[in-house]
Each structure stands twice: as C-alpha cells, then as structure tokens.
C-alpha cells in the first residue's frame, strides 16, 4: 500500500477512535487500552519482521506500569512519568537485549518468557513494597499541573495514547523501509547473508529489541494511567501471549495491523464478555481460529488482499 493511503487510513482511524470515544463514553477506556496494547504490539511487529517472537514483552509493560505507580508518589506529573517509564523500559531492554539477541526462535521466545516470569515473581514476593497480587493504586496524577481525573483526564490519556500511536507508527513505518528494516527481514530469511555484507545481525536485532521495549514501556505507562491500578498480572505470561495473539490477529503486514488487531481484540472481548459472560473465552478463541484459518495475514492481510483484488 502506498505511503499516502496508509497515512490517510491511519488518520481516518484516529478520527474514528475519537468519534467513537465521543459517541460511546464507556468505550473511551476500552479504546485507550486498545491503543496502548497496539503500541506494545508495534514493538512485537518489529521483532516479527526478524522472525523472532517474544513471549515476554509483558515484562516491559509491567515495568513501566510499576514505574508510573511508584514514580507518581514522588513526581505526580504524567508528562514526566510517561517518558521516564519508557526510558527505564528501554534501559532494561538494552541490558536484557544484550544477551537475548544471541538466541533465536524458540530460545529467544522462552528466554523472554522466563525473564518476564522472574519479574512477576519479584512483584509477588516483595510483598511489603508491591502489595503482591492486590497491586498498587496510583496516587492522583497531574497533567501540566492540572489534576488528571474525571472525564477530562480520560480524554487526556486517550489523546496521549493516540499521539504516541501515530508517532510510533510513523517511526516504525520509516524504520521498516530503511536499511535497518531490510536487515531485520534479512535475519528472518538468512542471517549469514547479513554477516557476509558486514552487517551485525545482533546489533540490528538489539536496536529493534530496545525500540520494542520502549514502545511496550509507553504502553505500560498508558495502561497504568488509564486503569489507575497496577497488579503483577501485567507481567504474567498470558499478557505476553495476548500481545502475540493481537499481532497475529492484526497481521504483520503494516504498522496499522497492530492497532487494528488491538481494537478488534479489545472490542471482541468486551462485547463477547457482555453478551456471553460465561463463554466469552470461547468466542475469542473462535475468532482467532477463524483468522488463522481464513485470513492468515490477519485483519490487515484481509484489507490488503481486497485492495489487490480491486
């Protein structure tokens, strides 16, 4: 798809999100969470380009969310907490990345999973600090000095999520078209060729890994500011699995895919839960099965193939 039409589609999506959030007030919350998860999945998409699946990115989500929860006690300013949380996620991503990028495929996925579960246990075990599974309630947070609460607060967080989503989406779009993006695809097809060209696959993957950690960090911070309550469940492996699920659902063909996937996932879940409180997991499972069987390229793949057909 051309850059112009992709940009227009992204902007149309943004307008649609704002319109929906205005028309259906309770969807503001759901859409903010969807945008945040979309951000995290955008990072997963970068790694997917290199053929690597991380089953542990919830680690950065939770790390950032807890940074916001603890940081808000000291500096209750959302505009400082957000970059601080993403920065910390990036630093930890760099440290962990230094050794996980030596591994590929199942080993890469499992190492990430193991580390996120270590963090989960830390959150559970350092009970006196983190209150364990009960989690921490965020203290009141401000935005440019004004309290971030009520309806205005919801709009502000949604706005931040939207701006971040558009900005990160644009950056990733540029990065994927750059030599870095091509090198990532090179890791997937045949890594040795990169070595022969004098490109270090480890360094390329590390750059993508740190970027994905930062994006997951933004996502975690947005989730914390939206739900106002953080629990260790954020770093549990099912959360990481959810991110991979969304990546598959949305399709890895475009940077719009993760957001389509996240919105579809969250809305399916909410509406399935509302309609079949007893069997919503089954509905969600059937949707994923349907996507795998009938649209292996995800929702984005469906849109792209219809475009080609036309």
């Amino acid at each position: 798809m051309t850059r112009r039409s992709e940009t227009l589609l992204a902007l149309a999506g943004a307008v649609l999100v704002l319109g929906l959030a205005y028309a259906v007030p309770w969807l503001r919350f759901v859409l903010t969470i969807a945008l945040a998860k979309g951000l995290a999945v955008l990072g997963i998409l970068l790694l997917l380009r290199a053929g690597q699946v991380s089953f542990g990115h919830a680690l950065y989500l939770a790390l950032a969310a807890y940074t916001v929860a603890f940081g808000a006690v000291v500096v209750p300013e959302a505009l400082l907490l957000l970059p601080a949380a993403a920065f910390l996620a990036g630093v930890v991503g760099l440290l962990i990345g230094l050794f996980v990028v030596r591994y590929r495929e199942i080993f890469f996925g499992m190492l990430n999973l193991a580390l996120s579960m270590v963090f989960y246990s830390v959150l559970e075990k350092f009970y006196s600090l983190t209150h364990g599974a009960d989690g921490i309630r965020l203290p009141p947070v401000t935005f440019l000095g004004r309290p971030l609460a009520g309806e205005a607060g919801e709009w502000t967080v949604l706005g931040m999520a939207l701006v971040l989503a558009l900005a990160c989406g644009a950056l990733v779009r540029v990065a994927l078209a750059s030599p870095l993006g091509e090198a990532l695809a090179g890791i997937k097809t045949r890594e040795t060729r990169l070595d022969f060209m004098g490109v270090s696959p480890k360094r390329v993957l590390l750059a993508a890994y740190v970027a994905s950690a930062v994006m997951a960090g933004f996502a975690g911070a947005i989730i914390a500011l939206t739900t106002r309550h953080v629990t260790p469940a954020l770093s549990y492996w099912t959360t990481s699995g959810e991110l991979v699920f969304i990546a598959i659902l949305g399709g890895a063909g475009s940077v719009i895919g993760p957001f389509l996937g996240a919105a579809a996932y969250e809305l399916t879940r909410v509406y399935a839960a509302a309609t079949f409180a007893n069997a919503w997991q089954m509905v969600l499972g059937l949707v994923l099965l349907g996507v795998i069987v009938f649209a292996p390229g995800g929702i984005w793949g469906m849109i792209a193939s219809r475009r080609r057909a036309a």
């Binding site: 798809m1 364990g132 599974a133 989730i223 839960a273 409180a277 007893n278 219809r306 475009r307």
Partner: protein, 446 residues
C-alpha cells in the same frame, strides 16, 4: 507495496464504510439506558462482578447462582419498592483492567443502578474509587482485604460483610480457647496477597495474645499448586502443634487430601479459616477435631440463627436448586442482596415514596442494618460491614457425607473488628489476653 491511487481510494472507502457500520452496531447495545435521577426506573439493573472463570470460580459460580435464586425470589414477591430487579454478571477472571473496563461499561452503557463488586481484593481496591468517580452506589460483596476502608474513605462504596482482620482473628481466638497451650505453629498458605496478608494478621495477633509461640515453618507453595508433598514432609518432620492454612479452592482440597493420606492430621491440629467452602468437596478425608472457619457466621447448620426459618428456607432452596449446601460466598451474596433491598426501601421511604438519586441511595447505605440469613449486619460510618464470625471444630456424623462443625463459637462482630479510624496492624497489637476469657460459650452440633 506498489498500488494505484484508485485502488487506494477503494480500500479507504470500504474501510470507512465497514468501520462506520461497526461503529453504529457498537452503539446499539448502549443506547440511552442510563436515564438516572429521580425518575422511577422501569427495571432495577444490578451489575455483579464475580469469577465465572479461573480457580476462584469455586466461589464465583455459587455466588452467581445465589444471586439468580434471590433475584428471582424478589421478583416473584413483586420486586423492590415495586420495581423488578435484573442482575447483569461480569467475569472477574481476566484481571483488573478487564473488570475496570466492565465497571465503566455497566455504568455508562448498561446504566446499572447498583454494582456488586467483587471477589478479588485487587478488583475491589480498583473499583471503590471508581464508585466515587462515577457516582454509582457499589457494594463490595466478597473481597477480603482490610486496606480498602482503612486507607481511604468513599461515599459510594460499602462493604456488606467483614474483612480479613475479624475473619483471621476469630480463628486465632478460637484456637487460643480450644488449645491454649500450643507451643509451635507452621503455616502453609498460597503464595499471593491473601496468603501473605492473612498470615501477617494471624502472626501479629498471636504475638500480642500469646507471645513466645515458635513458628516452625512458613511455607508458601505456589498459588494453584496441586502437589504438597514437600510441605507435608517438612511439617511431618517438624511436628508443630498447630498448622495454619488460609488456602482455599483446589489448593486447599489438594492439601487436605494429601495431608490426610499421610496422617498429618493425626500429628497436628489444623486451623483453616476458609475450609467451610471445601467441606462438601473433600468429604470425610478431613478428620474430626480440626478448626474450620467460614469468613463470617456462615454455616447452613448455624446453632443460633436470628431467624431459623429464614436460614432454613435459604439453605433448603439453594440445596433444592443446585444440589449442594450453600457455602460462604452464597451467604455473602445473600447479604449484598439483602443490603440492596433494605437500602433501597430505606431511601425510597426517606423520599416519601419517590425514587432516590444516586447520592441519596448511597447515603442510605451508611449506618444501614440489614438481615443476613443467620443474623444481621450493620454498615459502619466508614463503609465497613460489621459481621459476626463463626468458627467450629470438625465432627463426623452419619447425617451428612462430609464433616460438620461442632463446638461452634459465634464471635460478636464488634469484639473482633478493628474500630473505625484505626489500622488493623496497630489495633491487633493492643489486644489483651483477657479477650480470650470473655469469649462466648461454644455450642455443640445438634
């Protein structure tokens, strides 16, 4: 990535049309159902957060069944203040962010008038501030943490039952009375907030009331563990006089069965403040002579209910409908339903028959006293419910295929609940051993 402009247009239009249609269909279920205020609603909608999936559904599903049964009974009797009631259940299984989103949906889309939240303490901690933010009266129907009303004050959130402090303290007091000279104790709790919190309460109170007890082992097996052989071997070797376990659900069932197989029950006295909910599942694998609690005065064979007819009707109806005797979450749900009924009637009466606003309805719950299946509960000015506690010792009888309770002590709520404005951790340190001497008489199984 190559494509013509025309093709791009088509995709965009299609995407927009599709999205628009999706958007329109999204708005349908919402509608403008939340016509609030003083107009009398045609139907009273109650959002109920409970576990329909995951390990805690052993509590969530009986809670839901009780709600369905009691809502039907209310409607059969003409509703509350002439209005029919309808429950809308939401699943707590997926975690806090899901429940917070569902809470907003219930208020802003379904337009519920009242919310019952929740079983998980984390969900309650997250929902109580939302109640104030969205100004929707919320009854915390089952969660245990004492932090909610000790750390904060809310105008729209109320708890229709006790909290962890009285539930655990009552078990300790019972132990001090039943087995006053125990010298050592081991603990086997699930490794998560409740397991840690409850041990903290127990230990703090024990160190105040009976200093010098040796803690032989503090074992925190993984939440959801199915194999307790390590813990049982360790405790068999250490031979503590008492074993405490505040575990529940499948964890507790497995622990009881495995401890029973390896004769651990013959060496140590078990104290299990939540085991009432497991009795019917483990059956007589649990021997006689061990201390069992029920997170309140919940026991279908309560020795001295305020209204024996009411308890019998509740237990028999539940048994007839679901083929099991009601366990504590059923009683907790019954309390929330009773609080709702009495609270609304009080608010309607205060308005001279008119329909109260959300604020007036919330105000009605403050200081409200309402009947429970076994006694009555009063909601204090800080929002905390005052609920009696019942602890007993297991006994095998031919009348039931599972152990029943004997030597039951019913602790009056005020005597075991942290006073308003104090924190449990501090209050527990001010207890005196005279408290044990002043306990009510134990009542035997009849």
């Amino acid at each position: 990535m190559a494509g013509t402009g025309r093709a791009g247009m088509l995709t965009r239009r299609e995407a927009l049309v599709g999205a628009g249609a999706a958007g329109a269909s999204l708005m349908l279920p919402g509608g403008s159902a939340w016509a609030q205020g003083a107009a009398k609603p045609a139907e009273l909608k109650v959002g109920i957060a409970t576990y329909l999936s995951g390990p805690a559904s052993v509590f969530g599903v009986p809670g839901r069944q009780t709600a369905e049964m009691l809502f039907d009974e209310i409607n059969a009797a003409g509703g509350i203040a002439g209005i029919k009631v309808r429950p809308i259940f939401v699943d707590e299984g997926p975690g806090v962010d899901h429940v917070v989103g569902e809470y907003r949906r219930l208020v802003q889309s379904e337009g519920v008038h009242l919310i019952f939240a929740a079983i998980s303490s984390a969900d309650c901690i997250a929902c109580a501030p939302l109640a104030d933010e969205l100004k929707r009266p919320t009854l915390l129907w089952d969660c245990g943490t004492q932090r909610i009303f000790e750390d904060n004050r809310y105008n729209y959130a109320f708890r229709t039952q006790a909290n962890a402090t009285p539930e655990i303290l009552a078990a300790l007091l019972y132990l001090l009375k039943a087995k006053p000279d125990f010298k050592s104790i081991a603990v086997i709790n699930q490794d998560y907030a409740w397991g840690r919190d409850s041990w903290d309460i127990f230990r703090t109170a024990m160190n105040t009331l009976k200093p010098g007890v040796k803690v032989s082992a503090e074992l925190f097996p993984r939440f959801g563990a199915t194999d307790f052989s390590t813990e049982i071997t360790r405790v068999l070797a250490l031979r503590p006089d008492v074993v405490l376990s505040t575990s529940w659900g499948g964890d507790l069932d497995a622990l009881i069965r495995q401890a029973s197989d390896r004769k651990l029950f013959e060496r140590s006295t078990f104290v299990m403040p939540l085991a009432e909910s497991s009795l019917q599942r483990v059956g007589k694998a649990l021997p006689a002579g061990h201390i069992v609690g029920a997170r309140g005065d919940h026991w279908f064979l309560h020795p001295s209910p305020a209204d024996p007819e009411r308890l019998k009707r509740f237990s028999d109806n539940y048994r007839a409908k679901y083929n099991a005797w009601p366990i504590y979450p059923c009683f907790h749900m019954a309390q929330a339903v009773s609080a709702m009924k009495v609270g609304i009637e009080k608010a309607v009466a205060a308005k001279g028959g008119g329909w109260p606003t959300d604020a007036e309805l919330a105000a009605a719950f403050k200081g409200l006293e309402f009947p429970s299946p076994t006694a009555s509960v009063r909601i204090r000015e800080d929002g905390q419910g005052l609920e009696n506690q019942l602890i007993g010792t297991t006994l095998h009888t031919d009348k039931y295929p599972f152990p029943v309770l004997t030597d039951m002590i019913v602790f009056p709520a005020e005597s075991v609940t942290t006073p308003v404005g104090q924190k449990s951790a501090d209050w527990l340190k001010t207890l005196t051993p005279e408290m044990v001497a002043k306990l009510p008489q134990a009542q035997a199984f009849k």
